[in-house]
């Protein structure tokens, strides 16, 4: 149970060794915790509805998530460039996206777009999420819409036929 049988290379006692080890581990943990906290501060993405964006005057260029309904009749596509309007019943934001929209991207359906605002106040999406289930409504969207009285869980979306 002791290290006396081993040739002691360093003149540290058992206690000192243990203390050093605990200090080392503590240091790594503290560094890791700092890293996580810093990253959390810098890397989280806020979720906004169009109304939030207008109210809070979100800075252009800041990565955000925009959630709401795709306004009926607002989706146009030219080549690979899509434009559509995201609405929460009140406010509206025009959004653009280059690429193939998800299968379940539909006018009148809920959508969450990742991206940032352009200086002209429109939204440039880098990624559009519409999950693979026609009954799925992104939770954030459902809640934001509920808060605005636009959606009741037991009814279909207001914009749906």
């Amino acid at each position: 149970m002791s290290s006396q049988g081993l040739p002691a290379k360093r003149g540290w006692s058992r206690k000192q060794k243990r203390l050093a080890m605990i200090l080392g581990l503590g240091l790594v943990l503290a560094l890791a915790a700092t890293l996580v906290l810093v990253a959390l501060r810098d890397q989280i993405v806020f979720f906004y509805t169009p109304a939030d964006i207008l109210e809070r005057q979100v800075e252009p260029g800041l990565p955000i998530r925009l959630g709401g309904l795709v306004k009926e009749g607002s989706w146009t596509r030219q080549g690979e460039r899509n434009t559509f309007i995201v609405t929460d019943g009140g406010a509206e934001i025009a959004a653009t996206y280059s690429g193939i929209l998800p299968d379940l991207f539909r006018e009148g359906q809920g959508v969450v777009a990742e991206g940032s605002l352009l200086p002209d106040g429109s939204f440039a999406a880098t990624n559009v999420l519409a999950k693979h289930d026609e009954t799925y409504i992104p939770k954030e969207v459902a809640e934001a819409l509920k808060a605005r009285g636009e959606w009741r869980p037991d009814e279909p979306l207001p914009a749906e036929q």
Binding site: K17, A20, Q43, I44, G99, I100, H132, D133, E134, T135
Partner: protein, 656 residues
């Protein structure tokens, strides 16, 4: 009647599990009779749940829509394999699969555990029975898969089309086997805490189970990642989706457990930590399986959730996990600390491994739960996306990768780090050379790419260094070296293979991230586009009927610079029963790289095509397969073979 007999079998299994739990905990000190009862009970639970599961499969195969589960999730026109996999493509059925794997592990412990001390065996089986009773009870009372409909509808509602894929047949069983395999570690930990007996022998019994579970979890996660990659059509292979994180966290904890159990077995140290990890790992597995079902997390994996069910499952989790930790807090201080060691030693390296894995685990946990907490406490809706995880995870893993090759070369108790470093010089030099060369040739688009490559090569070559070192390659005649190599213990091979696989995966991740190229363009039949040296010619667009869907298929002729022409056919499908559209990407493999082609919805007769060229992307999964293979090799090690150690040891090694 098979359905009702299956129902009865599940209920009988629940009854046996309940009584086994009760009897096991009450009478575990009372000797062989209890152990024999519990062993027989564990085998019977397995047989009965297997029968129940077979009854469900039978009902799905013959499209018996008087079973509500089949009516809601099957369709008579579905191909046979999807009828079978449809059994677990839903909440209720997947619960039965989960319980089936749980009782299978229980039966394996009963079958292979004859050499265990009776009191330990009784406690382990009692804990397994407790888990079985809790989850089969949950299944029966809140989400009964054997619910009937009368009158039976004539056609089923069909399975979510995304799930109509061979991936569903493979991914959940593998993943569940991984999750549930850790239940054995959990049961052993609880048994050790209750009985107060824990020693190196305990670790030797736990280690094979950890390895087995870890192996399947590795395969399950890799398979899930590849499935998401080709089925969801987003071109990504890892999204840091809450559910992916939920499967990744037990993997990190399980990897740590795998390594700390080695220390405990060989050196009788880290006992308390190993017990703690065993509990944590299975707790995270439970969270992984059930968080998504409680409705707290929403994701593509979410089955229709109902609030009562969520509440029940959360209370079960709270009782099980909370109980285990309370037991831990109560009993762990009584466990005696084991052997001493110097900071620079194999033990020290393994502690470092555990430290970094645990902090990485913590970071993932925080990133996954932070939005929930913030939402609940402050009412703010935020998302913690890939950037957070990529940043923290890579920074926390980098030091682990740096020290990893040293570990296996260090001696137990106290090691000479300078001597080890000397042995690794060749591997390091080679890694630096290759990383520099590739970065120079490939052009550096991501600043971290050279560092990532360096780490990947370093880990891969470092893993091989141990084999070279132990075979004295270059210092002995070649034949002698080969003989030594073949004579190395399986565990040494497993270590090298596992670490090599990790290096391969790192290389795949770095290469894909740094040199992926993407193209989104309008492309109509007759036109062609170029990407990464490949010419993609859109030949024709046609409608093709499928068994239970209709598809729009684009046919593309892809010509590489030095490669024969290949035909790729991405599709968009509309499923008849649900009217749901899905995108089927076309993927062509060139060496280790892949070309990924996705077809957009045609608007006004024009088509949008999205293509990715993903260099060396397959290395990610090849590396994972190598890691899983390492687990399998380790299991074949004579000393680790489940159940065999005691007998074998007595037979082959003279006592005293």
């Amino acid at each position: 009647m098979t359905i009702e007999l299956g129902h009865f079998a599940l209920i009988l299994a629940f009854a046996i599990a309940s009584v086994s739990t009760l009897g096991g905990y009450l009478f575990w000190r009372r000797g062989e009779r209890v152990a024999l009862f519990l062993q027989q009970g564990a085998v019977l639970q397995f047989v009965l749940v297997a029968a129940a599961f077979a009854a469900l499969i039978q009902a799905f195969v013959v499209s018996d829509f008087s079973l509500a589960l089949a009516a809601n999730n099957s369709h008579s026109l579905k191909p046979l394999v999807f009828k079978i996999s449809g059994v677990w493509g839903n909440h209720e059925g997947s619960m039965v699969l989960w319980v089936l794997i749980l009782v299978a592990f229980g039966a394996m412990v009963a079958a292979f555990g004859k050499n265990l001390p009776q009191s330990l065996l009784s406690l382990v089986l009692a804990t397994q029975s407790l888990l079985t009773a809790a989850f089969s009870g949950f299944t029966l009372f809140t989400s009964n898969p054997f619910e009937r409909v009368s009158p039976a509808p004539l056609e089923g509602a069909d399975l979510n089309p995304v799930l109509q894929d061979i991936g569903l047949a493979i991914h959940p069983p593998l993943l569940y086997t991984g999750y549930v395999g850790f239940s054995v570690c959990f049961s052993f930990a609880v048994a050790a805490l209750v009985s107060g007996r824990i020693d190196a022998a305990w670790a030797r019994w736990v280690r094979p189970w950890t390895t087995l579970a870890w192996l399947f979890l590795t395969l399950g996660i890799a398979m899930g990642s590849y499935w998401a990659y080709y089925e969801l059509g987003w071109g990504g292979w890892w999204f840091w989706d809450p559910v992916e994180n939920a499967s990744f966290m037990p993997w990190l904890a399980g990897t740590a457990l795998l390594h700390s159990a080695i220390v405990m077995e060989k050196r009788n140290a880290l006992k308390i930590w190993t017990i703690f990890l065993a509990i944590i790992t299975f707790s995270l597995s439970l969270l992984g399986t059930f968080m998504v079902r409680s409705g707290i997390l929403t994701s593509v994996h979410t089955f229709a959730s109902d609030p009562t069910r969520g509440l029940v499952i959360l209370s079960i989790l709270a009782v099980l996990i909370g109980g285990a930790f309370a037991l831990f807090a109560l009993r762990a201080p009584a466990l005696r600390a084991g052997g001493l060691f110097a900071p620079v030693s194999r033990e020290g390296a393994l502690i470092l491994n555990n430290l970094f894995l645990a902090t990485a685990l913590g970071a993932v946990l925080v990133g996954t739960l932070y939005p929930l907490l913030l939402d609940a406490l402050a009412g703010m809706t935020i998302s913690v996306g890939a950037p957070f995880f990529n940043l923290t995870f890579s920074i926390l893993m980098a030091p682990l990768l740096v020290v990893l090759p040293f570990g296996p070369l260090l001696a137990w108790k106290r090691a000479d780090i300078v001597a080890v470093a000397q042995r690794l010089i060749a591997a390091g030099a080679l890694a630096i050379f290759l990383a520099a060369l590739i970065s120079a040739l490939g052009g550096v688009s991501v600043s971290m790419a050279p560092i990532g490559l360096l780490l990947g090569f370093w880990v891969a070559f470092g893993a091989l260094a141990e084999l070279i070192e132990r075979s004295r390659l270059g210092r002995l005649p070649l034949i002698e070296s080969a003989r030594r190599l073949a004579g190395l213990p399986r565990s040494a091979w497993a270590t090298a293979l596992g670490h090599f696989g990790l290096g391969v995966t790192v290389l795949g991740i770095v290469a894909t991230t740094a040199w992926e190229s993407e193209l989104v363009t309008t492309l109509n039949p007759g036109e062609a586009a170029r990407l990464a040296g490949y010419t993609i010619a859109f030949e024709r667009f046609e409608e093709v009927p499928g068994p239970n869907y209709s598809a729009e298929r684009g046919t593309f002729r892809v010509t590489g610079e030095s490669d024969a022409t290949r035909i790729l056919s991405p599709e968009r499908r509309i499923y008849a029963a649900s009217g749901m559209p899905t995108t089927e990407a076309a993927i062509e493999t060139y060496g280790f790289s892949q070309l990924y082609l996705q077809l957009g919805e045609p608007v006004d007769g024009t088509h949008v095509v999205r293509a990715w060229f993903k260099p060396y992307v397959t290395l990610i999964w090849i590396g994972a397969l190598l890691m899983a293979l390492a687990g399998a090799v380790s299991l074949t090690d004579r000393r680790l073979r489940i159940g065999a150690p005691a007998r074998r040891a007595a037979a082959t090694e003279p006592v005293r």
